[in-house]
């Protein structure tokens, strides 16, 4: 106990103490970029984008699809595809144990979620990578789930949208994960030949085997502001060329400048933009927000 706390009457709190007692724990966050204090409910309402500086914080796959899809008519599928440890891979830990840790941490069975639904009444299949699951890495289950998503798009002739967030191929599945690059690219080529649109949305970060396959194969490639995407990670490149990388290297603004993506779209505009693009590609009329009958709030 410091001398100050001894002389201070017990009922009087310091300012710091005051905050913890009057504001519930964890309601304030600090923007990692501009350091502005952010009131969490406000941040959430703004889709986890800092209202001050537009910084896009990372969000999980479920939330991603939740803020993207229409509320009505969502159907998750391909979730019965589970990871397989064909190699009985083991380093300092068993891959099997790494998987169960990731499953407990995220509540997901693997790193990709697939849903049939609609965005502003345009029907589609949407997929999203869960970065918190083993770095969003692509092994058999991710590749297979993505392929099933694309096959459903093909069968129903409805567009496919993928939100990627990944470190790349999953090294614990060794060459099986490398082959998922070929597999996902092959099914996307079928979509392309059938004239079924695929929109790839890159969210921070997208690297390696996913970048060099499905993520770059969109009819339209989109990135969120400030998202990093590339083949080799910055560390690898710096080690290879032994020089510092320029600021903004591999960020979405860089990708746009070098012709890798079509546009940068803010998360708050994503739903509208993707719906508008898809409606054009599908020859549908301009989409409008579906009217949702919400219960009237009587105070």
């Amino acid at each position: 106990m410091s001398w100050l706390s001894k002389i201070r009457p017990s009922g009087m709190a310091t300012q710091a103490g005051d905050r913890t007692t009057t504001v519930p724990e964890g309601l304030w966050k600090q923007c990692p970029k501009c350091s502005a204090p952010l009131y969490w409910p406000d941040l959430e309402r703004n889709l986890d984008v800092c209202p001050k500086c537009e910084y896009h914080t990372r969000i999980g796959a479920r939330r991603r699809l939740d803020i993207f899809l229409d509320k009505e008519g969502r159907e998750e599928f391909a979730d019965d595809v589970l990871p397989i440890d064909r190699l009985k891979f083991r380093d300092v830990k068993k891959y099997k144990d790494r998987l169960s840790t990731a499953q407990k941490k995220t509540g997901e069975k693997d790193a990709l979620i697939v849903m049939r639904g609609a965005v502003m009444s345009v029907p589609l299949v949407a997929t999203a990578f869960e970065f918190d699951f083993h770095g969003g890495s692509m092994g058999y289950a991710v590749g297979e789930r993505f392929t099933r998503a694309a096959k459903r798009s093909l069968e129903e002739r409805i567009p496919l949208v993928c939100f990627s967030a990944t470190g790349g191929a999953r090294m614990q599945e060794a060459l099986i994960s490398l082959m998922q690059m070929a597999k996902t690219s092959a099914i996307l080529e079928r979509l392309k030949q059938a004239g079924v649109p695929f929109i790839s949305v890159m969210t921070d970060p997208v690297y390696g085997g996913v970048s060099a396959s499905l993520a770059m194969l969109g009819d339209i490639n989109i990135a969120e502001p400030g998202a990093r995407a590339g083949f080799a990670g910055p560390n690898i490149i710096e080690q290879t060329i032994r020089q510092k990388l320029p600021p903004g290297f591999q960020r979405s603004e860089f990708l746009l400048e070098h012709g890798a993506i079509d546009m940068i779209v803010s998360r708050t505009e994503m739903r509208l933009t993707v719906a508008r693009l898809l409606a054009k590609l599908a020859g549908l009329p301009e989409p409008v927000e579906p009217v949702v009958s919400e219960p009237i709030d009587l105070e």
């Binding site: 090294m171 060794a174 099986i176 083949f231 490149i237």
Partner: protein, 317 residues
């Protein structure tokens, strides 16, 4: 230490050195018992080599696959295709020396050859960028594959790369897109494709010319999603654990055949391809000829459906 031999081959190197010495002495003295001694030692060396090579660890295979004397693509092209016409450039940016492309004949039949080349010796290594292709390399490969389709020429690819080039210019020109595009197009290219890993098949840089109807691996070649050093760096935070990583990832042809990824392992001469390059090339040439004939007997639509279904099956338990 003889640098032409890897550390685990040094007992062989010592024997071979003795044999060479005896040969020199034999030339001077012309004694019969020296010829006998040479024969005995040669047999001993052969047995020793067979013994060492019958039980190689994954890491030792990786080392053989990267052996400085190992035949590279140019060694195969020179011997297999005396009429090879090299074709250059991606028609957009430049000509990547890490990928050699051209037209040739295999057993009289016109084929398109696409090969990654590491380059031997310092100058060639620099010229070939150590076998690390940039986007223009993969785009040259794509251009030639599309040409092959137009003229109904089968495609033969030779894979040997430490990976696609990780550099600023590579990223600026869309290395990811160039690899992805090749994967997509190769999955439906209307001509037979045979891919052969002759040395080191490293990740995206390898699979970018590695999608086809038949995948060969030479006996002591290696194919991985990340280099053992890279894997070790991530898990153990040091490249020194690469042997453990190589073991864990299963980077050799026997394991990859079991996984249904590799179709055929091409046997190498005793002690590896570099101990008898001519024999290695002859074996591969023979195999490719047979394989191509088998593929060409199938109707093209059936072949393409089979290629696609196989791609779809990767990883299915």
């Amino acid at each position: 230490m003889n640098l032409d031999y890897l550390d685990f081959e040094q007992p062989i190197a010592e024997l071979e050195a003795k044999i060479d010495e005896l040969r020199l002495v034999g030339n001077d003295t012309d004694q019969l018992n020296i010829a006998e001694e040479i024969a005995t030692l040669s047999e001993k060396s052969r047995k020793l080599t067979a013994g060492i090579f019958s039980d190689l660890s994954a890491w030792q295979v990786v080392q053989i696959a990267r052996h400085p004397l190992r035949p590279y693509s140019t060694d195969y092209i020179e011997r297999m295709f005396p009429d090879f016409d090299e074709l250059h450039g991606d028609r957009q940016f430049g000509d990547d020396k890490a990928i050699i492309g051209g037209v040739a004949r295999l057993d009289g039949k016109p084929v398109v050859v696409i090969a990654e080349e590491k380059g031997r010796g310092v100058n060639q290594k620099v010229y070939r960028n150590f076998g690390m292709p940039k986007p223009e390399g993969y785009r040259k490969a794509l251009r030639l594959m599309e040409m092959a389709e137009r003229f109904s020429m089968p495609v033969l690819t030779f894979i040997d790369t430490p990976g696609a080039y990780p550099g600023i210019d590579s990223e600026e020109r869309g290395i990811s897109q160039s690899i992805a595009q090749n994967l997509a197009v190769m999955s439906r290219l209307r001509t037979p494709i045979i891919c052969t890993v002759i040395g080191e098949g490293s990740s995206g840089g390898a699979i970018a010319i590695g999608v086809g109807d038949w995948l060969n691996m030479l006996q002591y070649s290696t194919y991985f999603v990340i280099s053992p050093e890279g894997c070790a760096n991530i898990i153990w935070k040091t490249a020194e654990k690469a042997p453990l990583a190589a073991e864990a990832m299963g980077v050799t042809s026997s394991i990859l055949e079991d996984l249904g990824i590799v179709d055929e392992t091409i046997p190498e001469p005793l002690g590896g391809a570099h101990r008898d390059v001519d024999a290695m090339v002859a074996t591969l040439q023979q195999k490719l000829t047979e394989q191509l004939e088998a593929l060409q007997q199938q109707p093209l639509d059936a072949l393409l459906e089979k290629r696609f279904e196989r791609l779809m099956s990767y990883g299915n338990g």
